[in-house]
């Protein structure tokens, strides 16, 4: 069987694995040389990440301009996105040069307001999603999820003096403090193992997200 190995692949894999291993060793072994190499590699990565932000912004604006120019439905929203980008860019330049806090103003009154509105929508989406869960075929996890959700909602709701205390608040508190915390920690341990496994896969060149 003929196995063809491209020089580009070997080079990319060697650079990625070598840089990763040196950074990892610099983290665990406190030798000045390794530490210096690690800091240098991290600063290069930071510089590349900053350039990547510019590339990302370029890609985003290009997509919206194309969308607007092709007169697609919703093209007006793309124009708003482009104008917003330009406004934020100008505000970013104006703020340090003229001394007007335009950037902070736009961030507080437009960006954060929009993000908060989107987060508020999330509540309704989740309530409808919980209702939709009832239409799914019954499962143990789904049932446990719904029971915990209903008890928590009742337990966390404001108490009325006319309604007798059935202990929902205590059960909701127990759910939040005991099984939810235990489950959350279990998930976090699993995620930590997944993070290490993914990193090692890339370091050992088993997984190459930078192309085969």
């Amino acid at each position: 069987m003929k196995v063809s190995i491209r020089f580009r692949n070997v080079l990319l894999t060697s650079i990625a694995a070598g840089a990763g291993l040196l950074t990892l060793l610099g983290y665990f072994i406190p030798v000045p040389l390794l530490l210096a190499v690690r800091m240098q590699l991290v600063s290069w990565a930071t510089l590349l990440a900053a350039i990547a932000v510019l590339i990302g912004a370029y890609s985003l604006i290009k997509a919206h301009l194309r969308n607007f120019m092709s007169f697609k439905t919703g093209g007006a929203y793309s124009l708003v996105a482009v104008l917003g980008f330009v406004a934020m860019l100008i505000a970013g330049i104006v703020t340090p040069t003229v001394g007007i806090p335009a950037s902070a103003f736009l961030l507080d009154h437009v960006v954060l307001a929009g993000a908060t509105a989107l987060s508020a929508l999330l509540l309704f989406v989740l309530v409808f999603a919980a209702a939709r869960l009832l239409r799914r075929p019954p499962s143990l996890i789904g049932s446990a999820f719904l029971v915990a959700l209903v008890i928590s909602l009742i337990g966390l709701a404001p108490t009325l003096t006319a309604v007798p205390d059935l202990g929902f608040a205590r059960i909701a508190d127990w759910i939040a403090q005991t099984p939810a915390v235990a489950g959350g920690r279990g998930l976090l341990i699993g995620i930590a193992l997944g993070v290490i496994a993914t990193g090692l896969r890339v370091l050992l060149a088993i997984d190459r997200p930078y192309g085969d």
Binding site: A57, A63, G74, G194, I196, T198, R201, D207, P209
Partner: protein, 250 residues
């Protein structure tokens, strides 16, 4: 002390991956087996099949994580899975669409798509706009991806990567458009939201196993086995710790 413990963990993990890889290489590709089923990911072949048959695009969302930050591993795991899915989905008339919130991961996604097309001898169908940034923050990413079911002819959305609870909005928009949704995210709150909204949620750390599970390459499956064995070791260590504390040894 922390450094020694960390280094020992990494070395043990590496040793397990190498050992399982050697065993897998000896057994050969034909006998490569997955150590456990991941129900959410079992729906992927159906989703890809629908894409190929309908001539619509599969949306692969990497999430709002960025390379170089705290979400690097999750984003790499998402990219790995995206590469595996893309290598199958490029058989269809329309290439899959990969969305990210970071320029660096967009470049990697572009490279993955390009390689997938070359691998399928379909380089002429490669669309340079199929890997794109739809927003640079978690909220703007969600807002940008929300309109995709209307703007692009999608067949479904696979979200595998870093995302917060706002990902529920993206999944809900797809559900309302009648599209299949498969979602695996890393944050605990986002997992709860994805469980409620997605058609096929991928829970726990299975988002990190997605690439190996889909690709089924012996070396990737070996790393998945190592991950499972490490989990068993951690569970055993917790059990021993609880026992030792209970009987007063600690």
């Amino acid at each position: 002390m922390t450094s020694i413990f960390g280094l020992a963990t990494v070395l043990m993990f590496t040793g397990l991956i190498v050992a399982f890889s050697v065993l897998a290489a000896r057994r050969g590709r034909s006998s490569a087996r997955i150590s456990r089923e991941i129900p959410g990911l079992d729906q992927l072949p159906t989703a890809v099949g629908e894409t190929v048959e309908s001539g619509r695009r599969l949306h692969i969302a990497i999430g709002s994580g960025a390379l170089g930050g705290q979400d690097t591993s999750t984003t790499l795991a998402g990219l790995s899975a995206a590469g595996q899915i893309a290598s199958v989905a490029v058989v269809g008339d329309t290439p899959p669409l990969i969305t990210t919130a970071d320029g660096a991961s967009m470049l990697l996604a572009y490279d993955l798509l390009s390689e997938a097309h070359k691998g399928a001898h379909a380089a002429e169908r490669f669309d340079a706009n199929a890997a794109r940034v739809v927003g640079l923050s978690p909220e703007s990413y969600t807002a940008g991806a929300l309109v995709l079911p209307k703007d692009e002819k999608l067949s479904g959305t696979v979200l595998l990567g870093a995302a917060g609870p706002e990902a529920a909005l993206l999944l809900d928009a797809n559900n309302r458009a009648g599209l299949t949704t498969i979602a695996g995210v890393d944050r605990v709150a986002a997992q709860a939201a994805a469980f409620a909204v997605a058609d096929h949620p991928v829970l726990g750390e299975d988002v990190f196993a997605a690439g190996a599970y889909i690709g089924r390459k012996p070396a990737l499956l070996a790393s998945l086995q190592a991950q499972d064995w490490m989990r068993i070791l951690v569970i055993a260590a917790i059990g021993v710790g609880v026992l030792a504390k209970t009987v007063g040894w600690l």
